[in-house]
């Protein structure tokens, strides 16, 4: 291609990169160094390392970890069984449809389902127990998050399982490997890229969730995302909010490095 003429289409695109990729990161870094009066300070960073924020970070990680683990535990077998069905593309489509329904609507559904007079509590009563407050607990938060993320975990795992050459499994079985050994030594390692991609699209968003925490967890759970929203929109302390965002970006980069793939994956 003629290089001079071919560079012109890049101009709006490069402008986009400059304004919406580089500038926002720079601004977040800049604001993280400002106090409430706009003076330069490292106080926000010092504050982040106080027990209050460290505890919040730790609990945010713990919840994101739990959410990722449970999502994986339920998603892997689902993806595996889906590849075994007839019309597997159609079934996969049916898994994807719920992920197209607006996130807020699905979260809203659980306000009713987990409510004090909701169907779950009605069921509990049938078995002779007293209704419990399920909404605004850790359980409801983790459950709803897993529910939201499951399709995004299934898709990459399904794709990598689907790409796998089935004769490798037959070979392993012929050589005397048990079903479990075959899975552990052959199937799982071959699909690890799908698992990593799934973890990426679950763990990072789980760290930064905020509407599920607000709607489902009440103020029981505070994730890094909730804290950023709080600082920006409620406390109007953009400096502290930016500092938390800087750490969130750092954690994101670390997660990406840990789950780095050999072949280029995609986001679901």
């Amino acid at each position: 291609m003629n290089s001079k003429a071919a560079k012109t289409p890049l101009i709006p695109y490069l402008f986009w990169i400059l304004l919406f990729v580089i500038a926002p990161i720079a601004l977040i870094l800049y604001y993280s160094l400002l106090d409430l009066n706009g003076n330069f300070t490292l106080a926000n960073y010092v504050k982040f390392f106080t027990p209050v924020y460290l505890k919040m970070t730790l609990s945010s990680f713990w919840y994101a970890f739990l959410i990722t683990v449970f999502t994986l535990i339920f998603a892997y077998p689902t993806a595996y069984l889906l590849t075994k069905t007839k019309h597997k593309k159609l079934w996969l489509m049916l898994i994807i449809i719920p992920s197209w329904i607006n996130l807020l609507l699905k979260t809203y559904a659980f306000i009713g389902i987990f409510g004090l007079y909701g169907p779950i509590n009605a069921l509990i009563e049938v078995f002779g127990f007293n209704p419990k407050q399920i909404l605004f607990t850790d359980f409801s938060f983790v459950f709803v998050s897993v529910y939201i993320f499951i399709p995004f975990m299934i898709i990459p795992i399904f794709n990598s399982l689907d790409k796998m050459n089935p004769s490798l499994v037959f070979a392993a079985r012929d050589l005397g490997a048990s079903a479990w050994t075959t899975f552990r030594r052959v199937v799982f390692p071959l699909t690890i890229d799908g698992v990593k991609a799934g973890i990426q699209v679950t763990f990072i968003p789980a760290l930064s969730l905020f509407m599920i925490t607000r709607l489902i967890a009440g103020n029981q759970v505070i994730t890094l995302g909730t804290a950023i929203e709080q600082q920006f929109l409620v406390s109007q302390n953009w400096g502290m909010g930016s500092t938390i965002a800087v750490f969130l970006i750092v954690f994101m980069v670390l997660t990406m490095l840990v789950t780095k793939q050999n072949s280029k994956g995609g986001r679901a």
């Binding site: 986009w16 990169i17 009713g112 409510g115 509407m211 920006f232 990406m256």
Partner: protein
Amino acid sequence: MKKLSATSKAYLVFVFAVLYAPILYLIFYSFNSGGNMNNFESFTLEHYQAVFEDSRLIVILINTVIVALLSGLIATVIGTLGAIGIVSIKDKKMRNTILSLNNVLIVSPDVVIGASFLILFTMIGVKLGFASVLVSHVAFSVPIVVLMVLPKLLEMNTSLIDAARDLGATKRDILTRVILPYISPGIFAGFFMALTYSLDDFAVTFFVTGNGFSTLSVEIYSMARAGISLTVNAISGLVFAITVLVVIGYYFINQKAKSATSEGQR
């Protein structure tokens, strides 16, 4: 192929049941004449009627669609041009740098994007509202379009372009008559994805929307925070119906396209 065992089938049924239960639950109670999601009193369409009579809600719905279509369109133009530009970069290092920058917004948490855009708009003096929401949606859709168009461009045979040039096509002709038609499936896929991202986005919009402007997600959030309202159920019924229609349409178009290509190969 081995048949699935009963346990496997039961597990799949369980997963599908859990995935669909909340949605069906919402839709079921959207027909409830009682005001809650616990006791079904009698069948009614009043909540659907309420959606269509609520002019504020209709305005929000129109806003949401306009933002999605417009941002999708603009992002598709910028992204497609960007992808064409990226392919023309010969320097490998430069190309990889740009591609990494391209992916930053895709992997970044929504809250961080929302917060940083809020700072950006405040600094350069964009008023929060329609403009800021539209621009943010364009911003986070561009990289998706690039990722959808790029593979098509990379698989395109460059001799097509050489041939066109030898036959005397101008650069403009080459772009509009050779490159764009070839990569159009990628462009459509990109536009479609941008549309879905925009319709679905909550977190970024929540940060950059001012007081006067709202999209469906943001509105549902504030309604949900206020408590249960069966109007939201009616909205979800409508959203689900539209989604299923789109999926069915998409599936049939795909089948048709597939059978068309396989016939073409014969």
